[in-house]
Symmetry: D2
Subunit: 464 residues, 4 copies
């Protein structure tokens, strides 16, 4: 990498999971739209064909309308080739297949346990961690070997456990996890500001927040617009919209438009009960709460106006993306540059020394949240600049929400230790105690065993 | 108080709840059996007659067989009179009546929530805290006023919240909470040692332990006999007795003998799952775990071979004790000196400078358990000597059991804040998240409201 | 205060010490040059005439060339009048007169103790704290009474002890201390970058640093330009310029040009010994080190190419500023708008919600430096935005420089406690242990007593 | 090791430095006087002859008058032979010879730096650490290899740095450092109690203290006799005896009787200044304070009524001990059993499970002193029992003495890091900043170089 004319040239990015048909294209788009960086993107994926297709697509982005910089894409078969000499590593993989995910998400339903996402926490998240973390251990070893000074950005779930495992294996790694869930809450607050203050054009960046917690269960202990504390307004807002906020559209149709749209009713209910702003999508928030609260049954989910994401729907969506991949690679469809709104590019720019930035990330707790365990991966603001990433001191979690968050964080610490030691009993001890596991401990064990068996192909490192 | 001939004379003890028909007689017996202290015991109780009866009984203890010291008992009507100039304050009260306790314990059963004790945690413990803590705030103010230098020993439940409130109101107070549950586990381990090592006469004091946690949910991170680590032996023992340990007697009869006898099956199951020794009676341990684990139903309780303590049985037992009170006061029955096995007297002796002692107590966390919140009341060993009480550094709670314990401790912190602020919403937020509250959040609210209503007489300081 | 057209209007600033002939004019200039804020500045000073003169001068700034905003200045006699309803409080006072400062700086010389500034640490700093802190206690009480929500910016020395006392008296205060010493080091590093990288026009803002320590004894644990770690370059640079860096000019003339110019030789020597970048002017740094290192004698100071600031020179400089004050007030001289390079205005803008900013400030340690005492006032980066100020997590101080910094910080804590308790013995205990106090403890006591006597007029709250 | 009849038999103790003519005989005497332990003592020393002589002497102790147990002594040439299978390791070595110690203690005198002991801190202590710590690294590796479960008791100075290095190399080691300096202060307080309370026969064990700090610079934050706080009495006592306490004998003769007798005048002066009880001999305390306070010159030492220990006197004393060794080995003199008053045997008994004990030791800070760095070796009380050693929570060091103690502790941390990294510059950075190094930094460097050169034979692992 080198500077010329206030630009950073020759940046080398390695993309692990470079065959992705989603995140990868978003990154391509954002890179192309960036006018002060250029370089190479090396795509590595166990699905070599997918990576090769993305090589073609990525290179086409250079010629897309609105492209401001040139990036050369190259698919490789060996991870070492991708990593050698790189400045930035992006990790965004699907650990296992949708078959494993199907077990993660749907097997627990037999025991009355419903999960809206199933990739972060709960039975699904824990089993997913069991197969993903060993992959990340490999990544960490390779990064240590091939590019120990590179910045590593993870997008894979379960976020906290993936990032934790990178640091466990290679403590000097410069890794962080990126997630847009807090952004969604900032947008929601921007909507509120527009309504309450009768403002137009309030951007999410204008909503300044102090997030604390763990990924997908992040809470805001402050939120302000300009110099105005938003809490009193949000309090009124949550009373007004206690049945869900659908932004002027009739409730019935809006929140069911898709699996990912919500009415924010869970978020609003949590505020009304706990007095702090939960800052993730309702589908994620619900999974960290006691199973009977929001996920007792499909009916309860409907009542709370969010949705269970079936793996079937994911499979169907994948088909669409595969078709799009074909069209993009063949030239049938032109790649379009649409800013994703993700912070990835801004973070890279700041780390390369082109700007500075405060935004939320997932990194090990060094004390930024004094009442969570040191070393646990937490989500707070951090300051990106000049090849450095420093957490902002977020402060202790308030007592009212501390039981909720510390429970989750300590569960992750226990799961992490269990996986690191390949100790299935320890993992189960955490599993049985998860907020969603509302069955008897005997049933919990049956469920755990069944889920492990279903995904056994990826769990060969454990002794059962 | 003064020294003479290596004895401490003229000690003044104030007993709040001095009309007690149980703990009070135990204290009388232990005091009489102690040969190097003497003095006065001032009995204060809202039930003045009960206190007066105990004055009579107490004074009779001086003439009991085996009495080695003389204590003068006196019942008073004003708490200030009891406290003025005293060296030691004992607090052992029944907050409210058995009617309130009936609601605490049994109202949740309507919602499928069973409690084996109901006075420490769970719905019963929280509601009980709501009425008890304001009483303890009063005690703290009186102690500050009348005897700020006195040592204060609390026996009342919910232990942690009572002790916490004393320190909240009067931070310089020299208070601690005393509980015999860890002793019971030491005895159980002594039984194991006898069996495994074929030793006779192993005393609980010979089992050296490092307790961590909160009252009634204390765990041992180490246990040794002589210089032998007991964990490997306990591991085998818990496999052997996974169906319960009944000490050679037929299972069926033994554990059902009474509400308080157990087969230790919960304790053994917890070890088999978590790898550390839970150190309280099964009836207490069960209440801190997920509701479905051990308290799902009366059948499950039976299967786990412990018992639900009905308030009816308490009422009947009280009748017996009232009758005994009459007999003792009238002289129909002679008071008998039987060492209770409690540490209270030993603690007082050490604090008066007559000896030194390491034993477990409940005091605010100053760092003795680094991964629980500072200021939360925790149970660890402490060193008593020469007018001082210093916690032993217990160390961080191991990751496998940390989710269980930190959840409980952080709930207590939230309840404490809610009660201090008389903020019913905050209290309910903690209530809804309690491990035993396995109903929906809607039902949880109904239950909370009903329980508050049932005990409204004692909750006038809250706005509902 | 209100928003209109992305500007903040009607801001009310209270200036305590508003008669200042220096800082005040700088603020006036910076305010006038700011195009998105306007409002009022209320000047309070015990020297009412000086404040009134500044009212005249301030109002003239509205008509200065380059003025972009209008600010109305008003001198008042009562501090409450200035504070009521204000958004921002600026404190910049001279505690006592130059006569007291003369004693602070020069009395110790009799005992062989030389001080280059004498207002922050050492004998001079401690005695100055004794008379300043009680004034700040008053300010804190007034702020609590009249404008508890205002942001309070302190420029007065001793910085750390002044800010500490504000928080001690009014813990909820939103106060911070501002100092430009780190900026000077950034500029010095920018000079280095220009020389080493042959760049032109490197601005101090482009040098990204992580400061840790206490005011005037701040150290950088990282420094980068773009994404380049500057430590290896600085290491070579400090070897090359071990005799001082005078930026191409002959050494002899440059560093003696004025009391405030230095050759950075102390800073360079500290790097060569300790491996971290000391980040304040040499005159300040020298005062925190063992007295024999850099301040043993005037000859040693000369050898190290910095200067002792005599109070006589300050008195002469004041005369010039008084004359300028007359000229400005009378209209003989036009006020000129020259950006001071201070961050004050940028901080206010960010706090008012107009921008965001990461820069160094002095605030109580909440954990941003984990190995300094909680509550001690430390200097680190902080994130200013939207009515909030949050420390960046600076991390623990490295072991090599920890003895230097922790010594100073713990001395300040001891002095602070001594002053708070008006306990002269405690203050002297800290005084005797100060790095500059290299005389015997007997002489230290004589010196302390003499200095207290010299400034007795301002020390009536102590019992000697 | 095995139990029989409440005794521990077959204990194997390895003694590194087993040729000692002092500590070794004390241990032999204490072991012989102990009636519930027996076993073997394996003596290892680089001076094999000395070890062999002690083998003879040790075995004679079994027949001494008052011997209650039998211990078999055996000298070996290989450290591994001594360590294999042992239960307890005692380390008590002289690192280097009296020639090195001569340089440690007396070279600094050329620069006006006087040291009363020179083996713990100051120039002498640091240089001694440079040669001792690498030896301890070897010991730690051997213990890890041959007896990882053994308890390791260190008596060698510099205590804190020796113990620290054991843990650095082998973190699981069960090591602690033992020192009798606090005992001396307890004895002094017992003298005071006798005088003030007109008691006879007050034993040091009856004085209950809470020590905090680092070895040889330990302070008491509380001290009590029975239940009486001794601080108010000590305050009066220190006023009365501000010129030294000589226990009724004329001052002139008493304190000069020997190098080790003192008048406690330093200790008393420190109390009068700082309000806490310094708890080590005056010769040690003086070395941790600013050089000008108590060690400015031999005259000042005389004035303070303590003494400089010349290495010459040590050499002469050694001759006497060598002669005694000959007499003991030859049988010319009978070994006599005199209890040393050391806690070593009591600690071993408690660790073997024969008793329990609270006493002061040197171990890494796990949080027992919250405001000293974690991992630094600190001295506090600890609880010995049943194969475990747990620190008592000593609490934070009070602000008034924190600057003194934290300075020393952080210096040790810096020296430790420097030695671990064999980084002479880092070591010198700490050396230059030591309280005793009151010369210029230039002279400090000359002194450091000279001392390193003088002891170069033992410093071959460093690059200069």
């Amino acid at each position: 990498m080198r500077y010329a004319d206030n630009k950073a040239e020759g940046i080398k990015i390695a993309y692990i999971g470079g065959g992705s048909r989603g995140w990868a294209w978003g990154l391509m788009s954002d890179l192309a739209a960036c006018d002060d960086m250029s370089g190479e993107v090396w795509l590595y994926d166990i699905d070599t064909d997918a990576a090769r297709k993305n090589e073609i697509i990525g290179n086409k982005f250079n010629f897309a309308k609105g492209a401001k910089s040139a990036w050369s894409y190259r698919a490789v078969k060996e991870i070492g080739e991708a990593l050698t000499g790189c400045d930035v590593v992006v990790i965004s993989i699907l650990p296992g297949t949708f078959d494993e995910m199907e077990s993660d998400v749907h097997t627990p339903e037999k025991y009355g346990i419903y999960q809206s996402v199933g990739d972060t926490t709960g039975p699904g998240g824990i089993i997913r961690a069991m197969r993903t973390v060993p992959m990340f251990e490999e990544f960490a070893l390779n990064i240590k070997k091939y590019c120990p000074d590179a910045w590593v950005i993870n997008y894979t779930n379960p976020m906290a456990l993936c990032v934790k495992s990178l640091y466990r294996v290679f403590p000097e790694i410069k890794a962080f996890g990126c997630c847009h869930e807090v952004f969604g809450t900032q947008k929601f607050l921007a909507e509120m500001v527009k309504e309450v203050f009768r403002e137009e054009n309030v951007e999410r960046h204008e909503i300044k927040v102090n997030p604390v917690g763990v990924n997908h269960f992040t809470w805001l202990t402050s939120a302000a617009y300009r110099n105005v504390d938003l809490f009193p307004y949000y309090k009124e807002f949550c009373v007004k919209y206690k049945d869900g906020y659908t932004n002027g559209k009739p409730v019935d149709t809006n929140w069911m438009n898709g699996a990912f749209a919500t009415s924010e009713k869970v978020k609003i209910d949590l505020f009304n009960r706990f007095g702090y702003i939960a800052a993730a999508g309702d589908r994620h928030l619900a999974e960290f709460c006691e199973g009977k609260w929001y996920l007792e049954s499909p009916e309860r989910v409907k009542e709370m106006k969010f949705a269970l994401t079936s793996v079937q729907s994911r499979k169907e969506e994948l088909k669409l993306r595969l078709a799009k991949s074909e069209r993009l690679a063949s030239g049938e469809e032109e790649p379009a540059i649409n800013k994703t709104g993700e912070e990835g590019i801004n973070q890279i720019r700041a780390l390369m020394g082109l700007s500075e930035l405060v935004t939320n990330v997932n990194i090990p707790n060094r004390g930024q949240i004094p009442n969570l365990p040191l070393g646990a991966v937490v989500e707070t603001n951090a300051y990106f600049c000049a090849n450095s990433l420093t957490p902002v001191f977020a402060g202790p979690i308030p007592k009212t929400i501390y039981p909720l968050i510390s429970r989750v964080c300590s569960e992750q610490e226990a799961v992490s230790e269990g996986i690191a030691q390949r100790d299935v009993n320890k993992i189960f001890a955490a599993f049985a105690n998860d907020p969603l596991v509302i069955c008897t401990i005997g049933d919990a064990k049956k469920l755990f065993d069944e889920m492990c068996k279903n995904t056994a192909k990826y769990l060969k490192m454990y002794e059962f």
